[in-house]
Amino acid sequence: MIDKKLIKNIDFFLLLCIYLISAIGIIAISSATHVQETGSYSMVLRQVLWLAIATIAFIVIISIDYNFLGSYSTYIYILNIALLLLVMVIGHESKGAQSWIPLGPFNLQPSEFAKVAIIITLSKFLSEKEGPLNNLKDIFMVLLHVGAPFILIFVQPDLGTALVFVAITIGMLFVFGIDFRWILTGGITAAVTMPFVWFFALKEHQKNRILTFLNPSLDPLGAGYHAIQSKIAVGSGMLTGRGLYNGTQTQLNFLPESHTDFIFSVVGEEFGFIGASIVVVLYLIVVYRIIRIAMNAKDEFGMYICIGVVSMFLFQIFENIGMTIGLMPITGITLPFMSYGGSSLLANMMAVGLVVSVGMRRQKINF
């Protein structure tokens, strides 16, 4: 099925780092969900199960030539938009955002998969163009391409995830090459359209969430509180941490959402600077290895995929860790491979699958 040479070309070091991060994540989830107190491992088990499912998805993805996937780019794009529209209709709401499709015992979050889908389709689009990007039609096409899923997710409202799309686009266009003038124009266009979205498309509670994101002091007992408690948690970990299951901020529920958005705070509190910096270094290795694969990719399509994926990870890592240590404002962005959640784990592993697939097939002519 898969050529032996291809298997030899798998970046096993990258995978090792990712599984290490996932393992640390699962341990942190067990602490955040109080397994030693409640004796209930259900969330830990779910996460392990999702990791197994994600691994299968990963294997499936690397078995397929990414260029084969690229040839279905149009269909992937349509399916993606359809899913996002579906979630608007039948999705159910949690924590103020309507972003879930109930699927038997699980809930699926299409916006997570949308990120991967857009990486594939935008890569395909850019690989067929010549950079730098400097004609109106192409720019319009890029904006339309990313704009549609962006707006659908923005109105859920899931501003954090929507911003990931912006990060992906900026990262890919940066490598593609873009005239500075067009960045300016893009900024102005966004500034002009935003008021329309604001006044006509958004509901009151969506506006409030966005306002709070932009200015967390508007919600001093919500986001402001989370920021302070998280800083106390991480800081109180000191050099070696309080030890697993001994972090008082985590165990006494001072930390909100500690198993999802604030999982890094749990690591910081219980494993200290040593644990936290190990995680950071592991992420650094992951990011670096992906960029290296991009450099050696055999074609532009493959390179753009890697850049899209790395932009996505980089933004999420920096924003998520940044918010737990007071560098960035609070928003609902998960930490890849660590935060509890099946959809994001699955989507992230699929993204890694694409990258590994590009790396496996880097020799231009093998036969």
Binding site: V175, G235, M238, I325, G326
Partner: protein
């Protein structure tokens, strides 16, 4: 592929990555290494704490802005766990409770394990404030309480007691009573769930002396915090108390259904009346403050804070002046009746009464009085004493026992007596069974059915002679209405009663009862209720047998032979059971006598004063039935209109204006010389219409009704007054007079003077 270009950009990318990651690492070093011990200390001492800042409850005002419910600042005692061990915490709790007790303060006690005289423990999950709770609810409550506190479901009181004693590290040096006090507070603290490190209120509205003592001893009371919080206040005391309702602690069942973001278990919530109906508006949004605290749990500085948003102001349609007049006059008139003064025939049981005033053109309720009332301030702390509560809700109450919490105006459905006769009259005219000019001969004794007589015949053996509709209403001639109803039939009569909204809920915002319109269907319901009584209470039949028997009732079966045959088929052999069932089923048979009774507002007919007032309003405004309502407007605390009520038409009756006029003329004559309400209204400066009713309700003395409207030509308000066991409706007319006086501002200056003196 311009590889070189891409390569350059990718290198740039790597540099950006390196910069971002070094930011993170630098920040981690700063937080965890440089400032680590600082944050460790914060974390250890729980130096950061959320203090809930309670939002003041929204005000309730009358239509002119007079405050009927507002708030005043008060001191409350909170407790929060500081960094102390169990034994110290238990000591602190007991010391604090002892200070409260010695100062005679009430404190919150929700602990379901009690001690008897011999210090044996037992469970009681019944809260004295809500005596209506079912066994099922209590069992569920017990189960939930046990699971909330980690007690096994089968545990008896003793086991639970021992478990909690161990859990909270209560040593044996305490007496059982002291242990109970500690467990009470400890369980309240733990019920906060994940907010268990947040302060919880244990006593409200404590005196300044108590505050001083707590402050003085605060060094020895770590975690005991005195806080200022708004407390509900009803400046007018008992005025409109059943309309306003009251607030109380949230029972566990209700708490489960509330948004935990909005309500805390130690909050108070509107339980009855306007306080309940508009809870979502009145509640407001609590604010909060993150404070850095010292080792005693006291605030050092504020870290961040969110101002509370006070609840919305609910402006009622009630006119305080009219409401007050209605209540005062009811009290006065009832007293006169009880004492036989003012020329009234003495009736010592005239203890309850109600009055309702409605704007006939909008359905706005201007006054809704129920006497006796209660002082809702008793409930404002959320912890009325058992004695206070028992006084308001008497045990072993009979029909004669006044129940201050009961709203007689909306929940007291009683026979309307002669005040119902306008329904019979308008129905007869509209259906054409009688013309306005037709004169019917009062023969004294009516020759049909059980041969009932007119009241005049019963009292004086005289008759009214030939009467038409106007005269019939003026003199309240029973025979005239007997005859009209006989011609109409019960179905038409009941239909008209329902058109006027009688026997169905009016849709007012507060609690009310539907009442009953006398009709064959209502009678069948009674029979089926009797069968249920035979099944559920006497346990003489089972559900299957009941279903079969109910079919006989529905079919209108009255033949003994058929019923007895059925009883045989169903195998019901017990003599007593057979007699009871036979009696119940045959009781469902409608007869003409019942129609005649219904026509004069007797028999099964029973309506609330609110329904009666609204029926008069509907009649005199030409047949438009509005939904009576109490809310005029809701404003946010800073004066923006949140909601406004508009007149809501429930039904258009399409009554003939001319016919209404004949009826109204009759009602006018009632208030004039020779009418039954002339005593109250003779020489009254405003012309009006009315009708008295003296409703029979054996074994009680007659209930005195008066319904009326004014001004006669262009009616503005409709009034219904009833005094239980008042003896005569003409006495109730005096209450209506006071109401009209207040509404039309007819009080003479000197009269005002004396009234004010009385109030003071």
């Amino acid at each position: 592929m311009e590889t070189k270009e891409f390569h350059k950009r990718l290198i740039a990318f790597i540099i950006i990555v390196a910069i971002l990651f070094s930011f993170i690492l630098a920040r981690l070093i700063q937080l965890q290494i440089v400032q680590g011990s600082y944050y460790r200390e914060w974390s250890d001492e729980k130096r950061l704490r959320l203090i809930t800042v309670k939002a003041p409850r929204g005000k309730i005002m009358d239509r002119n802005g007079i405050e009927l419910a507002n708030n005043r600042p008060s001191f409350s005692v909170d407790i929060v766990r500081t960094n102390i061990d169990d034994s110290k915490l238990n000591r602190v709790i007991l010391d604090a409770i002892n200070i409260l007790k010695l100062n005679g303060e009430e404190y919150i006690d929700t602990f379901p394990i009690f001690l008897d005289d011999a210090n044996n423990v037992y469970f009681n999950f019944k809260n004295f404030e809500n005596e209506g709770v079912s066994e099922e609810t209590i069992r569920a409550r017990e189960k939930r309480w046990k699971s909330d506190h980690g007690i096994s479901i089968e545990a008896d009181a003793k086991k639970a007691w021992d478990f909690l004693k161990k859990k909270y590290g209560i040593d044996d040096s305490y007496t059982p009573q002291e242990m109970r006090e500690i467990m009470n507070i400890r369980t309240i603290m733990s019920e906060q769930g994940y907010k268990s490190y947040q302060p919880v209120t244990i006593a409200r509205d404590i005196s300044e002396e108590t505050v001083a003592e707590l402050e003085e001893k605060h060094i020895n009371l770590p975690g005991i915090i005195v806080d200022v919080e708004p407390i509900r206040q009803y400046p007018e005391g008992t005025l409109a108390s059943q309309v306003l309702g009251y607030i109380s602690r949230i029972d566990p069942e209700t708490m489960k259904q509330l948004d935990p973001e909005k309500y805390r278990p130690d909050d108070l919530i509107g339980t009855v009346g306007i306080e309940k109906a508009f809870e979502e508006y009145l509640k407001g949004t609590d604010g909060g403050e993150y404070v850095e605290v010292d080792a005693l749990g006291r605030k050092v500085r504020s870290v961040s804070n969110k101002e509370p948003v006070p609840g919305d102001t609910v402006k009622l349609t009630i006119d305080e002046k009219v409401q007050k007049a209605a209540e005062q006059s009811l009290v006065e008139t009832m007293k006169n009746i009880r004492e036989g003064k003012n020329g009234f025939v003495k009736s010592e049981y005239a203890n309850m009464g109600a009055a309702v005033v409605i704007d006939v053109n909008t359905g706005e309720v201007l006054a809704l009085a129920s006497v006796p009332g209660f002082d809702p301030n008793v409930f404002a702390k959320g912890s009325p004493s058992i004695e206070e509560y028992a006084a308001l809700n008497p045990q072993n109450a009979t029909e004669r026992t006044p129940k201050p919490l009961w709203n007689y105006a909306t929940k007291g459905a009683i026979p309307p007596g002669s005040t119902f006769k306008m329904v019979t009259g308008i129905a007869g005219l509209m259906e054409g069974v009688v013309t306005p000019d037709e004169k019917i001969l009062d023969t004294g004794v009516y020759p049909y059915a059980h041969k009932p007589a007119c009241w005049l015949w019963n009292e004086y053996h005289r008759t009214h002679g030939l009467v038409d509709i106007t005269k019939a209403i003026q003199v309240s001639c029973n025979v005239y209405f007997f005859e009209v109803s006989r011609r109409l039939g019960i179905d038409k009569l009941a239909e008209y009663a329902r058109k006027f909204g009688l026997g169905e809920k009016t849709g007012i915002e507060i609690e009310e009862q539907a009442g009953i319109v006398a009709s064959p269907d209502a009678l069948k319901d009674v029979a089926i209720n009797d069968l249920y009584y035979i099944k559920n209470v006497l346990k003489m039949i089972n559900q299957e047998q009941l279903d079969e028997l109910a079919k006989l009732v529905e079919a209108g079966e009255i033949r003994d032979s058929v019923i007895l045959k059925k009883l045989n088929e169903l195998g019901i052999k017990d003599k007593e059971a057979r007699d009871k069932i036979l009696y119940a089923i045959k009781g469902a048979q409608w007869n003409l006598g019942m129609t005649l009774n219904a026509s004069i507002g007797q028999g099964q007919n029973s309506f609330t004063p609110l329904q009666m007032a609204n029926y008069i309003a509907t009649l005199v405004n030409g047949g438009t039935r509005y939904r009576p309502h109490l809310m005029k407007e809701i404003d946010s605390f800073d004066g923006k209109v949140v909601k406004k009520s508009n007149p809501e038409v429930v039904d258009k009756l399409n009554l003939n204006e001319e016919y209404i006029q004949y009826i109204k003329e009759g009602m006018k004559a009632v208030t004039e010389m020779g009418g039954t309400a002339s005593g109250a209204f003779v020489n009254y400066p405003i012309s009006l219409g009315g009708k008295t009713g003296t409703a029979e309700r054996p074994p009680y003395k007659p209930y005195g009704w008066f319904v009326g409207f004014a001004p006669f030509d262009k009616p503005e308000i409709a009034v219904a007054v009833v005094i239980y066991e008042g003896g005569s409706g003409s006495y109730s007319a005096y209450v209506a007079k006071s109401i009209f006086d207040a509404y039309f501002d007819l009080n003479k200056p000197e009269e005002n003077q004396t009234k004010n003196n009385v109030v003071q």
